[in-house]
Symmetry: C2
Subunit: 210 residues, 2 copies
Amino acid sequence: MPADADLTLHWSPRSPFVRKVMVAAHELGLTGRIALHRTVVRMAEPNPELLPDNPLSKIPTLRLPDGTALFDSVVICEYLDELAGGGRLFPAGGPARWQALGWHALGNGFLDLLILWRNERDKPAARQTPEWLDSFATRAAAVLARLEAESATLEETPFGIGHIAIGCALSYLDFRFPDLGWRAGRPALAAWHAGFAARPSACATEIVDA
Amino acid sequence: MPADADLTLHWSPRSPFVRKVMVAAHELGLTGRIALHRTVVRMAEPNPELLPDNPLSKIPTLRLPDGTALFDSVVICEYLDELAGGGRLFPAGGPARWQALGWHALGNGFLDLLILWRNERDKPAARQTPEWLDSFATRAAAVLARLEAESATLEETPFGIGHIAIGCALSYLDFRFPDLGWRAGRPALAAWHAGFAARPSACATEIVDA
C-alpha cells in the first residue's frame, strides 16, 4: 500500500471498469494516493463486505478519507480528475466535453454489453436465450463500425476519459472475446488501439490471466 | 412536435431512463425544444433505425441540431442542464457535486439492476438462473435500506439530478415490482417519494400502463 494513500479502491485485477479507473489514476499521477483492496464481485452473489460502501455490490467503489464511498466508475474518474486539478481527462466545457463524455458513454455501454454477452454465453446452453446472443453480436459489430469510422477523430483529439473507456473496452474484447477477431476489416481502429495499449498507463494495468 | 424544437429525443413512454431525461427537461423548462420520436428498443432485437444514432441500440438518445447524437441518459441530462445555463440540476463543483453525482449513479445502478431482474424474472422458468434472482433481491433490499437511511439528507438537499434518478427508480418499482411492497418499513423514503411524485415534472411524465 502506498505510504501516503488516503483513498481506498475496491479493486479486482480483471474488472475492465476498475481498469479504467486505474488507467485514469496513472495518467493523472494519483496512484500513490490509492490503496487497492481486493474485492470479489459476482453476478450471482452480492459481497457482504462491499454492501456498506456500495449497496449495488459493484466495483470500482472508492472509499474517501471521510469514510463515505463514491461509485460508479464514471463518478470516480471525474473525481480523480478534479483531485488532479480538473480539466485534464474531462474537458471543462463546450464541444470538447460532450465529445469526451459521449465517447466515455460509448465505451462504458460497450463494456456493459460485453459483460452481459459473456454472462449469457457462459451459461449452460439450455439456459441461454439465443436471440439475446444474436442481439449482442449485432450491436457489438455496430459499435466497432462506428469506432472504425471515428478512429481519425480519436487520434486527433487530446487524450481523455473517452479514449480510456474505448481503449479498455477493446482490450476487454481481446481478453474475453479473442475469437471475435475484432481487428479484421478495422485497420484504423486497430492502429489507434495499438497506440493506446503502448501507453505506460495501459501497460501498468493490463488485464492478463493469472 | 413543439414548433421551435431543435432537439429530437428517441423516446418511449415506459423507459425509466427516458423518463429521467424528461423530468429533467421539465424541471429546466426545456420541453419546448425537444421533439419526441417514438423508438422501440428490446433486449432481443436491435432497432436498425436507432443504430446510426446509437450503435448500442439504447434509449434515451438525443439528436442534436448538427446531426450528431448524444447518449446515455447521464450525458443527456448534463447537456440539458448546460443548455439551461448550467449548475441547476448538476451542482458545478465541490461536495454538492459529488453528492448529486453519487445519488445519480445509485439511482441509475438501481434501475440497471431492476431491468436485469425483470428480464430474468419474466423468462421461462427453465431458462432462469435462480442465484441471479436471489442476488437481485438482496441488492435491491440493500439499496432501499441505504435510501431509507439517507431520506433526511435527500429531503434537505436542493433538488437535483440525484433526486430525479432515485425518484424515477422508486416509481419504476411501483410500475414493474408492485408486489415487492417497498414502502413497508421505509416510512421516511415513502414520504420523500410522495413529494417527488407530486412535482409537476413527475406528474407530467408518469409511466402508466396504456
